[in-house]
């Protein structure tokens, strides 16, 4: 008795799969819906919920919003099933895992399916992650220096004119773009390129050369150039645990000027970040909302290229450092989100 039932079920699943694929191939949804469908895929954790809240707040009048949880533990097949089932008019991908799944999805179905436009957010280095993908645009997670620096300048009386930035050779283009943007605001970015060519030696030897380069860079920026502010980029390689402990901290211990960081953990290290400019997750969702409307109004065609910058930030300030070394009025402290 059980055999025919299983058989029926399998036939039913096969039909459903066929119908869903046919729907995508024709570019028509199976059932007519009053609103366009927006599928959001990503984790459920803290931060993501804020983005999702903003997307709901901004777009609930315009779209039927469907959220499907996809994280590191979710198998790819579930991710694919979600897209095929929902057949979204617009897709929002939150984090790097969903981006890599969607890249695989595109490779797997290229030429057979029409890919809906997709917006990527909450992913690190979004410009690189979406490169080569079809119909995808991103909202950067990293706060651009121009935003961090304008906020700092508005808060304090201390000079914010020459700002030191340590960056790796791989990020030269990024640094140059930011330098131009900052110039418009009358801020000069003074860079030190950490460039190491590993010809010989073990990994440990190479690591030592790299550490030495960071040390030289910090010495150059803080002493030779005597910059007004040090801006630390979110670069895991420059900020590896060993170098933070052995190179950064000893050098920054006696530095009495603002050190801007873009992640909360660097604010937690004593004598490291004293001014944190972190992405505002609700604001990221709002930027996604702005892009979604733009795409919808353009008949679901993406006109913007690459990635958009985040507009909203959360400002964290080290209270003790500010009191001792910054010229800041009590009134301006009211513009800070978190005083630590």
């Amino acid at each position: 008795m059980a055999k025919p039932l299983i058989h029926l079920l399998l036939v039913h699943v096969a039909w459903l799969r066929f119908a869903l694929l046919a729907g995508l191939l024709l570019g028509e949804p199976l059932a007519a819906a009053a609103k366009n469908r927006l599928l959001v895929v990503g984790p459920d954790s803290v931060g993501y919920d804020q983005v999702l809240t903003a997307i709901n707040d901004e777009l609930e009048d315009e779209f039927d919003i469907i959220h499907r949880r996809v994280d590191r533990e979710t198998p790819y097949v579930d991710f694919e099933r979600n897209i095929l089932e929902v057949q979204p008019d617009l897709l929002v991908l939150m984090d790097n895992v969903t981006v890599s799944y969607y890249r695989f999805f595109q490779d797997r179905h290229r030429g057979r399916l029409k890919f809906p436009p997709a917006i990527v957010t909450m992913a690190l280095f979004v410009d690189q992650s979406i490169q080569g993908m079809e119909n995808v645009v991103g909202v950067r997670y990293e706060v651009p220096p121009i935003v961090s620096l304008t906020h700092l300048r508005a808060l304090v009386e201390n000079p914010v004119e020459r700002v030191g930035v340590l960056y790796r050779a791989e990020h030269t283009n990024y640094f140059n773009d930011q330098k131009i943007l900052c110039q418009r605001e009358g801020i000069e970015l003074v860079g030190y390129k950490v460039e190491v060519t590993f010809q010989k030696g073990s990994g440990e030897a190479a690591g030592k050369i790299f550490s030495k380069e960071i040390r030289n860079g910090l010495k150059y920026l803080l002493t030779t150039e005597d910059v007004d502010v040090l801006l630390v980029l979110n670069d895991n390689k420059l900020l590896n645990e060993r170098d933070v402990r052995n190179v950064w901290l000893p050098r920054l211990k006696r530095y009495r000027k603002p050190i801007i960081v873009g992640v909360e953990t660097l604010m937690d290290i004593p004598n490291f970040g004293n001014f944190g400019v972190l992405p505002d997750h609700y604001g990221l969702g709002q930027t996604v909302g702005n892009l979604a409307i733009e795409i919808k109004e353009n008949d679901f065609v993406i006109t913007v290229r690459g990635a958009t910058n985040p507009h909203s930030v959360q400002k964290h300030l080290d209270r003790k450092f500010a009191k001792k070394y910054l010229e800041i009025t009590a009134e301006m402290l009211n513009e800070v989100d978190v005083l630590r």
Binding site: D57, D61, E62, L181, Q286, G289, N290, H311, S312, D337
Partner: protein, 248 residues
């Protein structure tokens, strides 16, 4: 022994719970406020709370948050822009009535201007212009409201939650211009070294913030609220976007 312990706890609770009631004589009127500002909501709450201890005021930084809390908790009063209450009243019977009106330069409305980088905005072609605005009522409603103000069928807007975020829209050229109240021009000019050019809009203004109260609110509480606003330090009133309060 156990019973005595319980009795002691009960008496403590009575004492702690009863003290505020004895001090204030009655419950403080509960006010929800939504007035986007450069000052963070928690800081505004502290500043206003300090000057108006007889009022239980909560500031919200986002419209949706404010809307949900107002509908769920039904506060005694709300402090916000009249258009926000008007919009909320379209779908829910809130029944709030105006109590006190904010004024600036003795006027109940404030003119708004467009700020753009290096150029004036062609107001005749406003429907072709992308404008950054602080969202006061959700995106769709904000779009309708502004299209109405500019007397066009449709307007292209990008919304943000905080005043400071408008500047980022200009810095990255994501919009052609931002819409700001005239009184905030200095705020933007001080923050940025971009060449910000003003386009005056003779027909575009917003009604200034008002306090609305529930029709059931007792006259005594209404008086408390009126006095609290009227006694605010000019500096604090300015943060709320007004320089004077007028009874309605």
């Amino acid at each position: 022994m156990k019973w005595l312990g319980m009795k002691r706890i009960f008496l403590w609770c009575l004492l702690i719970g009863g003290l505020p009631a004895l001090c204030f004589g009655q419950q403080r009127p509960k006010v929800y406020a939504f007035l986007p500002s450069n000052v963070r909501p928690h800081a505004l709450q502290t500043l206003v709370g300090r000057e108006a201890p007889d009022v239980d005021i909560t500031f919200f930084g986002r419209f949706r948050e404010f809307e949900v809390q107002v509908l769920q908790n039904k506060p005694d009063a709300v402090l916000t822009f009249p258009m926000v209450v008007e919009y909320m009243s379209q779908s829910e019977s809130l029944g709030f009535k105006p109590l006190i009106q904010g004024l600036k330069n003795e006027k109940t409305d404030e003119p708004y201007v467009l700020l753009a980088v290096d150029r004036q905005i062609e107001v005749n072609a406003i429907d072709q212009t992308a404008i950054g605005v602080v969202s006061l009522m959700g995106r769709r409603q904000m779009g309708h409201f502004l299209a109405d103000k500019f007397k066009v069928g449709k307007i292209s807007i990008k919304t943000v939650t905080k005043l400071e975020d408008l500047l980022s829209l200009l810095q990255f050229e994501d919009v052609d211009a931002i819409l700001v109240p005239e009184s905030r021009l200095e705020y933007y000019k001080q923050r940025s070294k971009l060449n910000l050019v003003i386009t005056r809009l003779p027909d575009v203004s917003y009604r200034l913030p008002m306090m609305f109260v529930s029709p059931e609110l007792k006259e005594e509480s209404q008086k408390t609220l009126r006095e609290a606003l009227e006694k605010l330090e000019p500096k604090v009133s300015n943060l709320l976007g007004v320089d004077q309060w007028q009874n309605r």
